[in-house]
């Protein structure tokens, strides 16, 4: 590691780690994680040494890349925060994902249909994913785990210290691991950024997904503001308390000047002033909703109604 700078932690990656709070551990420390902790903050949270996070990540990536058949690396997350990340990781590196419930006996019961024999496990959280870790111990499978400061390290062979509670942090760590594996394999170049966004690895709340879908629908339906063909309809919408609408039609009114001004009119004063001019225009114009020709006289009032 000392000889080459290529595997060092770079500034942009470091910024990503900070932004996602991967360096913020838990209030407790497991004694085996002590060496990864930089310090304990006054409010109790332990701060993980980011450089060590990076170095263990690279070590883990090397172990993963060393497996000849990528499908024999099993990536596991029972917690929802890591499920999406695990699926994406599997797609991009060729690993096999187990997201959600891990059926006990998957690694040990050879009679089961779902019996699998992986060569390596990568686990999101040693505490919640303890079942696969325990089964791995029966069948000689090494385990890599994203461990928080309070995670138990029994049967974990490579621990990558990080925050495994926050959604962004988990997503980022899996993304970094995937990118590193691809770089070590030579599939990706080291100097160019990966064109897959980190956001694809983040957990999405089902409510958020619904909201986004709603947004997408409404964006399609919104009418452009400059279209004034529905002016009358718009006006009625904007002045719902104006009583005139049902009471008259344009044809009936012969003398507009004498017409009582409906209560909802904000531009009432201007109406009076420009009454003479407007009435003539009214009489001249077609007895339908005012068309574009009257725009100038209407224009000023329109702004008042806003």
């Amino acid at each position: 590691m000392a000889s080459s700078d290529i595997l060092n932690l770079r500034t942009d990656d470091g910024m990503k780690l900070l932004v996602c709070n991967t360096h913020l551990g838990a209030q407790n420390v497991d004694f085996q994680m002590e060496s990864y902790v930089y310090k304990r903050r006054p409010d109790g949270i332990h701060i993980i040494n980011m450089r060590k996070t990076w170095e263990k990540l690279v070590l883990a990536a090397r172990a993963i890349a060393a497996i000849e058949d990528p499908a024999e690396v099993f990536v596991i997350s029972s917690r929802p925060y890591g499920q999406r990340a695990v699926l994406k990781f599997a797609v991009h590196t060729g690993a096999t994902p187990i997201a959600g419930r891990f059926t006990p006996g998957t690694f040990t019961n050879q009679i089961q249909k779902a019996f699998r024999e992986p060569r390596l496990l990568v686990v999101s959280d040693p505490r919640t994913d303890h079942q696969p870790i325990m089964e791995a111990s029966y069948v000689n499978i090494p385990v890599i785990a994203f461990a928080n400061t309070d995670s138990p390290l029994r049967f974990v062979d490579i621990a990558v210290p990080c925050n495994n509670k926050a959604a962004h942090s988990i997503g980022l760590m899996w993304w970094l691991l995937a990118r590193e594996v691809l770089r070590i394999r030579g599939t990706l170049a080291r100097d160019k950024p990966w064109n897959i966004m980190v956001d694809l690895f983040f957990y999405r709340d089902p409510e958020e997904i619904e909201k986004e879908e709603q947004q997408a629908l409404t964006d399609k339906q919104v009418v452009p503001r400059q279209d004034t063909s529905n002016y009358a309809a718009d006006w009625v919408q904007q002045n719902p308390d104006a009583p005139a609408v049902g009471g008259f039609s344009v044809e009936d009114v012969k003398d507009w000047a004498a017409e009582p001004i409906p209560a909802g009119f904000q531009g009432g004063a201007q109406w009076n002033e420009g009454a003479a001019a407007t009435t003539t225009e009214w009489e001249r114009s077609a007895p339908v909703a005012p068309s574009g020709g009257n725009q100038e006289s209407w224009g000023g009032n329109n702004e008042n109604w806003g």
């Binding site: 000849e68 058949d69 024999e72 060729g94 050879q110 060569r119 000689n140 599939t187």
Partner: protein
């Protein structure tokens, strides 16, 4: 009730006794069946249906394809053996099994006792391998069959050494080893050539099947419980290869595990495509 007792293969005197609780010990019943035990020897090889073995585990596939040279390779990497056919492949013809005991065990139900039979089977090739299997089943034959399979799966290598003067082939245990199971403690002690196996009948059988010619033993605990006695000697023999003697001090290099050495074969030549 008496009918039921009689129906179950006619274990003589028991039918009448079994009124209330199944409080009788397995021990006294064992004596009844002494004569039967010998008759089962060598029964294993006779009428076996020839069904092609379809391996379920990776190791099974490698063994069937002949990629693994010997059992010792598997032992070296401590790979769990889940298919008995793997053992058959390497040791098949040399293996002899023997039923140590059929023990009826009972469970009390609302409608009387529910008896099952527990079979203890020891298996060995008399040349450094020993296995012990225990299986419980409603029928004796099924129990024995199951126990034989389990015995094969549990086969371990036994290290043999010399008492003094490394002449000829190793004939005794390399050092004093002791195994435990339950309360039983069995201690195996190296003996000079020609001593024979100096022990009770149960460990004698096991040691003989393992290929140990000379051995002294010392035991303690409730050796009447045959199950524990047998398991304790098996445990002791397993430990012969765990013991670090000075001649094993030299460091050997790492050997690639068969799974990685034969990765191509196992993935059938096609590694999964990845999306970049």
């Amino acid at each position: 009730m008496a009918d039921r007792g009689g129906f179950r293969g006619g274990f003589g005197g028991r039918g009448g006794d079994r009124g209330g609780r199944g409080g009788d010990r397995g021990g006294d019943r064992g004596g009844d069946r002494g004569g039967r035990r010998g008759g089962r020897r060598g029964r294993g090889r006779g009428a076996k249906e020839e069904k092609a073995w379809v391996p379920v585990t990776k190791l099974g596939r490698l063994v069937q394809a002949g990629k693994i040279q010997s059992l010792e390779d598997i032992y070296y990497h401590a790979l769990p053996i889940k298919e008995a056919e793997i053992i058959d492949n390497f040791l098949g013809p040399k293996l002899h099994d023997e039923v140590l005991k059929i023990m009826p065990v009972q469970k009390q139900t609302r409608a009387g006792q529910r008896t099952r039979f527990k079979a203890f089977v020891a298996i060995g090739d008399q040349d450094g391998h020993i296995g012990l299997g225990v299986k419980c089943s409603k029928e004796v034959a099924t129990a024995i069959r199951g126990a034989i399979i389990l015995a094969k799966l549990s086969i371990v290598p036994v290290r043999r050494g010399y008492w003094g003067n490394k002449m000829g082939k190793p004939h005794t245990v390399p050092c004093k080893v002791t195994g435990r199971c339950g309360s039983v403690l069995v201690r195996l002690i190296p003996a000079p050539r020609g001593t024979g196996i100096v022990s009770g009948p149960v460990p004698k059988k096991l040691l003989h099947m393992a290929g140990i010619d000379d051995c002294h033993t010392s035991t303690s605990g409730s050796t009447g419980t045959l199950g524990n006695f047998a398991k304790a000697t098996y445990d002791a023999m397993t430990k012969t290869y765990s013991y670090l003697t000075p001649d094993l001090w030299t460091e050997m290099g790492l050997r690639a595990s068969p799974y990685s050495a034969h990765a191509e074969f196992l993935s059938k030549g096609g590694f999964k495509k990845t999306v970049i």
